[in-house]
């Protein structure tokens, strides 16, 4: 696999101005660093794009999908916006809390899971939407959760 900076270099060439590559570059760095952006990842991106680490922090902290805290190996995010909420999203959240032994908004001590709630994932007609590592499971009900967790643990 090419180094992060080489891959960022490729990304920046897509754009008329290199700063445009900062979001894709941060995404890439996040993937390389286990799902979050430690300070050294921000430094890496800054270096590759001639930006400052502080600038990269300013960008990363603006976007929900870019994370500045360590995250579990599996990321479970339940949409709790109106349509999902009307369709039982809170029961789904609580089922995940029970099954994972985790409070929403926290990461398991063993680093296996992070559980959280998120704003509308754009799947209101297929409520409740649960994003697992950014892959959407549709029409999830509380009853489905034990099987999902079992599958994820396997």
């Amino acid at each position: 696999m090419a180094s992060v900076s080489t891959r960022i270099e490729k990304l920046r060439k897509q754009y008329p101005k290199s700063t445009s590559a900062v979001l894709p570059a941060l995404r890439l760095a996040q993937e390389e660093h286990g799902g979050w952006l430690p300070p050294e990842a921000l430094r890496e991106v800054a270096d590759a794009l001639d930006l400052t680490p502080a600038y990269c922090l300013s960008i990363a902290s603006f976007y929900d999908q870019l994370r500045l805290e360590p995250v579990g190996r599996t990321l479970v995010e339940v949409c709790t916006n109106v349509s999902c909420a009307l369709s039982g999203a809170q029961q789904v959240v609580e089922a995940f809390e029970r099954e994972l032994g985790l409070e929403a908004g926290t990461t398991a001590d063993d680093g296996s899971f992070t559980l959280g709630t998120v704003e509308c994932l754009g799947g209101c007609g297929w409520a409740t939407v649960v994003a697992i590592d950014n892959r959407h499971r549709l029409r999830v009900q509380a009853d489905d959760v034990p099987a999902i967790v079992q599958e994820l643990r396997a």
Partner: protein, 441 residues
């Protein structure tokens, strides 16, 4: 359910056209060839004649938007087409299905639009949460590149990273430039100084996909669909307390009743309709009394709401309208970019006041304060986000005043814990909970 003409989803037969051969044999790329054989201005004229208006929420005429982009000889800078695929208005999930089922029609529309505004660069800003959709577009684009259909146009798929505000066009442009996604002041408008301060057209996915269909049908045929002022079809996203939620492509002007009951199968368990949000969470709520309202631009304005993004959320009688206010306000609070004062401060304040009402701690002046804070947000912000919160909350109080009043008089929620939104954990509350814990360590 009567058959309705399918324009955006034409030829899919309920499925998807994700193989380039299938799309081509369904008539694909003929509109592109037609457009490229026309002068750019003629394409724009065709769009103007079709009456197509933006499907992102603002309903601005697509052809006119393109006409505002100066010609390259008037403003010799690169021109850009930017497609807003950052669909994130609560209740709206149509663009996602369009990209999944008719990716080529969408990309074809991009190339037609690029031809019309004489751009050699197309950026598709797709929300970061749409992983599968991104992959489908990426593969489709590759297939088109191989089929030599791009005609010298560079198409870049640019992924967002989780910020509702980037659906606002100037915030989107900032984000695309690698900045924090905060809206710009207008003027200058993107048509003159958009991406990299160059002339830019920003269009929604459904609008762009419909462009292909307009070219396929011809403006005249297209304009026959729908109603006066709102021509053509619309992909309605139906969700909430309804038997058959989903996306439905229907002509403008069908009624809410038809959509919810005939198409959507009514409310589950025969429950009573309490409220409908007709165009995404940013639009004013309607009540059961508005059930015969037609779903088109003018009709919704007449009942004090808006067609918005055509995301229709059905709400039954189990829902507490104060809780709805809290949840909607939490969303805007969470998504406020933080640039302008009324939105940054006001959305959080609204949530706090609504929570006080829901908790039964509020007295009459708190309700007055709620309305006053809404008024003080309205029309004072840099972009529509703060207004959206205020409009939504004002409409909930306006249409369900008795219920708000009851919270104050009873000192508790009249639904006593049985509301369908009871206890719902919003991300903003989750963060607050965490911050609270940190503070007490």
């Amino acid at each position: 359910m009567p058959e309705h003409p399918q324009i955006v989803f034409a030829g899919t037969d309920g499925g998807a056209l994700t193989r380039i051969e299938d799309y081509e044999s369904a008539g694909g790329f003929a509109p592109l060839r037609k457009a490229r054989s026309m002068a750019p201005d003629d394409v724009i004229a065709e769009l103007e004649a079709s009456g197509l208006r933006g499907r992102g929420g603002a309903f601005f005429p697509t052809g006119r938007k393109w006409a505002f982009v100066p010609k390259p000889d008037q403003l010799p800078k690169p021109h850009y087409l930017v497609v807003n695929a950052d669909e994130s208005e609560p209740g709206t999930f149509k663009d996602r299905e369009i990209m999944l089922r008719v990716p080529f029609r969408f990309l074809e529309g991009c190339l037609i639009a690029a031809h019309a505004i004489q751009s050699e660069y197309v950026f598709v800003y797709i929300r970061g949460e749409y992983e599968l959709e991104f992959e489908v577009l990426r593969d489709s684009l590759e297939a088109m590149r191989k089929a030599d259909l791009l005609g010298g146009v560079t198409v870049v798929l640019h992924r967002g990273a989780g910020a509702y505000i980037c659906g606002e066009e100037t915030a989107l442009l900032e984000s695309l430039e690698g900045k924090r996604g905060q809206p710009r002041t207008k003027p200058p408008f993107p048509a003159i100084a958009g991406l990299y301060a160059a002339p830019t057209a920003v269009n929604n996915v459904e609008s762009i996909t419909t462009v292909t269909s307009v070219l396929a049908l011809g403006a005249g045929e297209y304009a026959k669909l729908g109603v006066e002022g709102s021509t053509g079809t619309r992909v309605f996203s139906l969700s909430g307390d309804v038997v058959n939620p989903g996306n439905y492509e229907l002509p403008h002007g069908i009624t809410l009743r038809e959509l919810i009951y005939d198409v959507g199968g009514g409310l589950p368990g025969g429950r009573e309709l309490k409220a409908v949000i007709p165009g995404g969470s940013s639009t004013s709520v309607l009540t059961a009394a508005d059930i015969d309202t037609k779903l088109d631009f003018t009709s919704l304005v007449e009942v004090g709401s808006s067609i918005g993004s055509a995301g229709v959320i059905v709400i039954d009688d189990r829902c507490c309208m104060v809780q709805l206010g809290i949840r909607v306000s939490q969303f805007y609070e969470h998504e406020s970019c933080g640039k302008c004062t009324p939105c940054r401060v006001g959305t959080r304040w609204l949530t706090q006041i609504l929570e006080k009402i829901e908790d039964g701690r509020a007295s009459q002046p708190d309700l007055d304060l709620l309305l006053s804070v809404c008024d003080r947000i309205l029309g004072k912000c840099l972009c529509p986000l703060g207004d959206s919160d205020a409009i939504a909350v004002l409409s909930y109080v306006d249409k369900f005043r008795d219920e708000y009043q009851a919270h104050i008089e009873l000192g508790r929620c009249p639904l006593e814990g049985d509301s369908s939104l009871e206890g719902i954990l919003a991300p903003s509350a989750m963060h607050r909970r965490q911050a609270h814990e940190v503070a007490h360590v």
